[in-house]
């Protein structure tokens, strides 16, 4: 019985594991190739972003008196999938940011008392003045938008030069 089994499956177990390790090495090679392709694709996207920057039109987000001093307003810019927040820091000072936390993209909440933007997911905090990270997991500042007021209305547009606020 035992002999017949060996005739049907003539592969010694030691040989079997030996071959499996070789296959594993090849699998590691393919994984490396996949990492390289991923890195290349990501780099290509970054290059494309730099070479062909989007020229988004300014957006009217409402009348000046819609946002009280110390208050905020939520809007979406430049697409419906990009939540943003504009803060009124004083009578004539505004600041607008991408509302997604730079840690894991939870929406940040404005706290007027502390003048901070807080991410409730992992206790990340950003300065309401310039969006730089103050505490918690985020290492990168919130993306800023340029805010202007014209004819008693608040306008935002993409900041001309990206500023990097890191800790």
């Amino acid at each position: 019985m035992d002999k017949r089994w060996r005739q049907d499956f003539p592969v010694p177990s030691a040989e079997d594991s030996y071959v499996a390790r070789r296959e594993f090495a090849k699998f590691l090679g393919l994984t490396s190739l996949a990492f390289l392709v991923g890195t290349l694709a990501t780099a290509g996207r970054k290059l494309a972003k730099q070479m062909f920057p989007r020229d988004d039109a300014p957006l009217d987000i409402g009348a000046v008196n819609e946002i009280p001093v110390g208050g905020y307003k939520l809007f979406r810019y430049p697409t419906e999938h990009d939540p943003c927040i504009v803060l009124r820091l004083s009578d004539d000072r505004y600041a607008a940011f991408d509302q997604r936390c730079t840690h894991l993209s939870c929406p940040v909440i404005f706290n007027a008392a502390t003048k901070r933007l807080a991410c409730p997911c992992h206790e990340g905090f950003f300065s309401a003045e310039d969006g730089r990270p103050l505490a918690g997991p985020p290492k990168r500042g919130l993306a800023r938008l340029e805010v202007t007021t014209r004819n008693a209305r608040v306008w935002v547009k993409r900041a001309g030069e990206a500023k990097e606020n890191t800790i």
Binding site: G29, S32, K46, L47, K49, Q50, E164
Partner: protein, 83 residues
């Protein structure tokens, strides 16, 4: 122990060392990938960082394939197994 199993045992040890080295290189490649992702998200990141990460990843990938090829060639020379 006859010579062939002894050679195979040695090659097994070499393969384990090669695998460990490849795993270390793969971890470095994973880190390079995260660096590139971070640079893509951060518009203020310099393009040189991305170029350097891609170059290093390409070198790592080449090194991994050369290591595998080196191992299989050695195995072929020692045991006659095809690769």
């Amino acid at each position: 122990m006859s010579p062939m199993p002894r050679i195979r045992n040695r090659l097994n040890v070499v393969l384990q060392m090669v695998t460990a080295l490849i795993t270390a290189i793969l971890l470095a490649q994973l880190w390079l990938f995260t660096v590139t992702l971070d640079a893509m998200e951060n518009s203020g990141a310099a393009i040189q960082i991305v170029v350097a990460a891609v170059a290093c990843s390409a070198v790592a990938c080449t090194a991994i394939w050369m290591l595998i090829r080196f191992f299989l060639r050695t195995e072929h020379n020692e045991t006659g197994d095809r690769f």
